[in-house]
């Protein structure tokens, strides 16, 4: 399983969007710890261990992150410690307002309404008009890399027991995420091919005549990140 954890550490940030990292570092860990504490009082080290097991060991967590998160949860009144010991000897339990917070979070839709600032989208947009660059070749380089990552993940799923549902779920989440990026590349490839046939795409430096200013709605896309 060490191998799995290792791969995850390397791959998780690749092709990630700002949304992914934000959710991962701020929201998910906090609420995952609350979920574990809703089963009964637990120690910090125990929480880290259980978090990793339940996420199929795909998302590693360092113990410092656990204690920082616990401190914040305590400050916000969502957990309380028994105060019996210091550091690792300290057990935490969830409060009523922590349980309410957890229940609310489970049903809260993630913030997917505004487009994240996606590095790959920007690269493709830049490549379209860059002289001497074949945008289709750029797309293919990323497509190949993504499919190779997906092969890696599939190998992990394949080599683990079919009964390891936690790992399969976590790997599936990663596969679906990478797959959606491949699909976007496929669609961009097809759209650019058609646009080139229709003469909508011109080489760099050539001014497009009769170009109307972008509507406000369109200008906002990609501004957030």
């Amino acid at each position: 399983m060490a191998g799995v954890r290792f791969v995850a550490r390397q791959l998780h940030t690749e092709y990630a969007t700002r949304h992914d990292t934000k959710l991962d570092s701020v929201v998910s860990v906090r609420h995952a710890l609350l979920a574990l504490l809703s089963e009964g009082p637990k120690y910090g080290l125990q929480l880290r261990e259980e978090f990793e097991v339940r996420t199929g060991e795909v998302w590693p967590l360092n113990v410092g992150q656990v204690y920082t998160t616990l401190q914040r949860l305590e400050r916000d009144g969502f957990v309380e410690s028994d105060g019996a010991g210091e550091g690792p000897q300290k057990a935490f339990q969830i409060t009523d307002s922590g349980a309410a917070e957890l229940a609310g979070w489970l049903r809260l839709p993630p913030d997917l309404s505004s487009p994240p600032r996606d590095e790959l989208v920007i690269k493709v947009l830049v490549a379209i008009r860059l002289p001497g660059v074949d945008v289709h070749e750029v797309i293919q380089v990323h497509r190949r890399y993504l499919v190779q990552l997906m092969q890696e993940w599939t190998r992990i799923k394949e080599s683990s027991a079919e009964s390891d549902v936690n790992l399969a779920l976590a790997v599936d989440a990663e596969l679906f995420r990478l797959d959606s990026v491949v699909r976007w590349l496929d669609s961009a490839d097809g759209r650019l091919k058609r646009a080139a046939v229709d003469g909508q795409i011109r080489p760099a430096g050539q001014v497009q005549p009769d170009r109307a200013p972008l509507p406000k709605q369109r200008r906002r896309i990609g501004a957030r990140g």
Binding site: F6, V7, Q10, V141, Q151, T154, D179
Partner: protein, 248 residues
């Protein structure tokens, strides 16, 4: 040893202004025990590649070898025999005969090849059992779920120890969990873990536009406008990811 080899294969339909180049100088070699996925958008030539590899169509240029035999040198009858004995096909819509039970569907290709009904049935049942379908043997296709139908179709494609499996969007009609089951099965068939093991390891070519399915393959070949534009490099072990950067 290479089970399938395409050497600079082209396929052109029509002439003059109506000429369509479905495949343009495609070279591809698939070794025993390997599963290769061919990925590309609609109209990129994926299905043409498969029909040519399966001897169902002839290329207009280049050579095709199946287990070292140049298809151009084979008679009609020899090609038909090759299709019966060496090559198995799996289609998106299963193509099972509705009037036959699962066991009859699976043993049919052996009977057509001259096996006795008894021996063909025994071989068919053995493969169905390997694929976990022993209790479905006497059911008709319309009494099976989509995933089961496709597993019966795979049993029919591998029965008799065939060596080359050609699949066109084999899980396109299935939900993702069933689709994964089908790809896992095909991959295991190539690795000699399940059906087909008796006749040595198989080679498989799977055509798909779905990256999740393609990722089950050992190698993914990308097709675009009839040309092979790129392919994945063999996956490195997890250790080598340490030094691997992003694509430049």
């Amino acid at each position: 040893m290479s089970v399938l080899e395409l050497r600079v294969v082209s396929k052109v339909y029509g002439q003059g202004a109506a000429e369509v180049r479905a495949l343009d100088q495609v070279s591809l070699s698939v070794d025993e025990g390997a599963m290769v996925a061919v990925m590309g958008p609609s109209g990129s030539g994926k299905s043409t590649l498969l029909t040519i590899a399966g001897t169902l169509e002839e290329p207009t240029g280049g050579q095709v070898f199946v287990r070292g035999a140049d298809l151009a040198g084979l008679s009609r009858n020899e090609k038909a025999r090759l299709r019966r004995r060496t090559i198995g096909y799996v289609f998106q819509d299963y193509n099972l005969l509705p009037g036959l039970t699962a066991a009859e569907n699976v043993s049919l290709p052996l009977e057509l090849d001259g096996w006795s009904a008894r021996k063909a049935r025994a071989a068919g049942l053995a493969v169905l059992e390997e694929l976990g379908l022993a209790d479905r043997a006497e059911r008709y296709p319309d009494q099976l779920s989509g995933g089961e139908r496709q597993r019966v179709a795979i049993a029919r494609a591998v029965v008799g120890g065939r060596q080359l499996l050609l699949a066109d969007e084999p899980s396109g009609a299935l939900d993702s969990v069933n689709a994964e089951g089908i790809m896992r099965l095909l991959h295991e068939a190539c690795k000699g873990k399940r059906a087909g093991a008796a006749g040595g390891r198989m080679a498989a070519v799977v055509v798909t536009h779905d990256a999740q399915l393609a990722s089950w393959a050992d190698r993914v070949v990308f097709l675009r406008d009839g040309r092979v534009t790129d392919q994945t490099v063999p996956a490195p072990g997890p250790e080598s990811l340490l030094t691997q950067g992003r694509p430049q």
